[in-house]
């Protein structure tokens, strides 16, 4: 039945996986890291590309009591600094740590660009807003690797994304190194590990087991 659901053009789409390493940098040392990333990544001649995104995470939960613990999260994001860019929905699977031979976290990943009414649409589908935040920072790329250095802000008043309503979370920027690729391309992990080595000791990018984080 699964196959019948997909339009003929989609049957060939391979499921994408996100390979991920994470770390953080204290705010005071952010510029040193940006400087180093600028040297290491492509497009060194341009100043780092900044982003300012609002992300809202919507949850769909079974109303039957037996399956309360099951739910699906859709992460809806749009750029605050680029009003004409489309919104998009991101679905992320459970991050797998894997064995020692694997250098990165791996999780299913699906990015779907969509029209701006997505929030209302999801609510009508039965989703509800679980949490939201604003991410401000910089992004770099090297080949197909993507590096983001960003700060997370809480919204003091719901729904308002002006700078005055934002409250920074912690005193660090989150640093993420990721590649989205079809399943089974394990050598990406090696590339990512080598890249992460070059950021030490400034930032230590690791595969952080999400299940252990409290």
């Amino acid at each position: 039945m699964e196959a019948a659901v997909l339009a003929p053009s989609l049957k060939s789409i391979a499921p994408q996986q996100e390979y991920l390493l994470q770390g953080s940098i204290l705010d005071a040392h952010r510029d040193v890291l940006l400087h180093r990333l600028r040297g290491l990544c492509d497009n060194a001649e341009n100043s780092p590309e900044s982003f300012n995104d609002y992300e809202a995470v919507y949850m769909l939960r079974n109303s039957s009591t037996t399956q309360q613990s099951q739910f699906v999260l859709f992460r809806v994001r749009h750029a605050l600094d680029r009003p004409d860019a489309p919104a998009h929905i991101r679905y992320l699977g459970q991050a797998e740590v894997g064995d020692r031979g694997r250098h990165t976290l791996v999780r299913a990943c699906l990015d779907v660009a969509c029209s701006p009414n997505v929030r209302d649409f999801l609510m009508e589908m039965g989703f509800r807003l679980d949490h939201d935040y604003v991410a401000q920072g910089f992004f770099f790329h090297k080949g197909r690797m993507k590096v983001t250095v960003y700060k997370i802000f809480k919204l003091q008043q719901p729904g308002k994304t002006d700078q005055s309503n934002l409250e920074p979370l912690g005193s660090s920027h989150l640093v993420e190194l990721s590649v989205v690729a079809p399943l089974g391309q394990e050598q990406i992990g090696d590339d990512m590990k080598n890249f992460a080595e070059q950021l030490k000791p400034l930032v230590s990018l690791e595969k952080v087991d999400h299940r252990r984080i409290q």
Partner: protein
């Protein structure tokens, strides 16, 4: 009978000359290859390999020098080279021996090649300098010497001082590489993956039920949202252990204080 010792001496001379020629040839070859490298392969030359070539050359020179000083080497300065015949004609044998550098053994080249003293101008300069040196009184020399020592030691102090500062800088960098914090990392990851500390306290749908192990927990609206950031790593377990040891230490000290 008279001929025997002479032949022995001659033999020794021959063999030592052969040795010397051999050494010089080797030296010449390494110089030639070095020059070749510099001229033709300079793009690929690296600093370490350049230094290595210099090392080879200088060791070649010093072995040649040592060879000249060995016991077996007859005192070459006792031998006189006496040009019997100078000829303006081209000498193919000589040309071959010198690899085409000297074409003929004539009046022009002989003074240069058979020179045993420096050129007159050079000699003059040396003379001038030695006269100047001898004109300085020992006290003067001493004075100048101490002056130079003083300047040198001053410069040395300066260099040492700044190198200390540099070392300190780098050691400081090494000493506090605290550019990231594991607890912050965990807090931020928890926020982006599970929405921790990002949820609003307002009560929404009442949720309960068992949590699946390994799954992010459902939002707990009952819980007050501004939680105290609990630093992972500084667990409660460790706190307890310090208390325990303190009590133990106190208990063990008591019996001795009692009368």
């Amino acid at each position: 009978m008279m001929q025997a010792p002479q032949t022995k001496e001659e033999k020794q001379l021959d063999s030592s000359l052969d040795d010397l020629i051999h050494r010089v040839r080797e030296l010449k070859q390494s110089i030639a290859s070095f020059i070749y490298k510099l001229e033709n392969d300079y793009q690929n030359i690296t600093w370490p390999s350049l230094m290595e070539s210099f090392g080879v050359l200088s060791s070649g020179l010093s072995t040649t020098k040592r060879l000249l000083k060995t016991e077996k080497m007859p005192l070459l300065r006792n031998y006189v080279l006496f040009p019997i015949l100078l000829s303006p004609d081209r000498d193919p044998h000589l040309e071959k021996l010198t690899e085409g550098r000297v074409l003929a053994f004539n009046h022009e080249v002989v003074p240069d090649y058979l020179r045993t003293k420096p050129e007159p101008e050079v000699e003059e300069k040396v003379q001038l300098l030695s006269v100047k040196a001898s004109s300085i009184t020992p006290e003067m020399a001493q004075k100048q010497l101490t002056m130079l020592n003083k300047i040198t030691s001053n410069v040395l102090d300066l260099i040492n001082a700044s190198s200390d500062v540099l070392d300190k800088d780098s050691s400081q960098k090494n000493a506090l590489p605290q550019t990231s914090s594991a607890s912050e990392t965990n807090m931020l990851i928890a926020a982006v993956t599970k929405g921790m500390r990002l949820r609003r306290p307002e009560p929404q749908v009442q949720m309960g039920g068992p949590q699946m192990p390994g799954m992010p927990g459902p939002p707990q609206p009952q819980q007050p949202a501004p939680q105290k950031p609990q630093m992972p790593g500084s667990g409660i377990g460790r706190m307890q252990s310090t208390v325990k040891t303190n009590i133990k230490a106190a208990a063990s000290s008591h019996p001795y204080q009692r009368p």
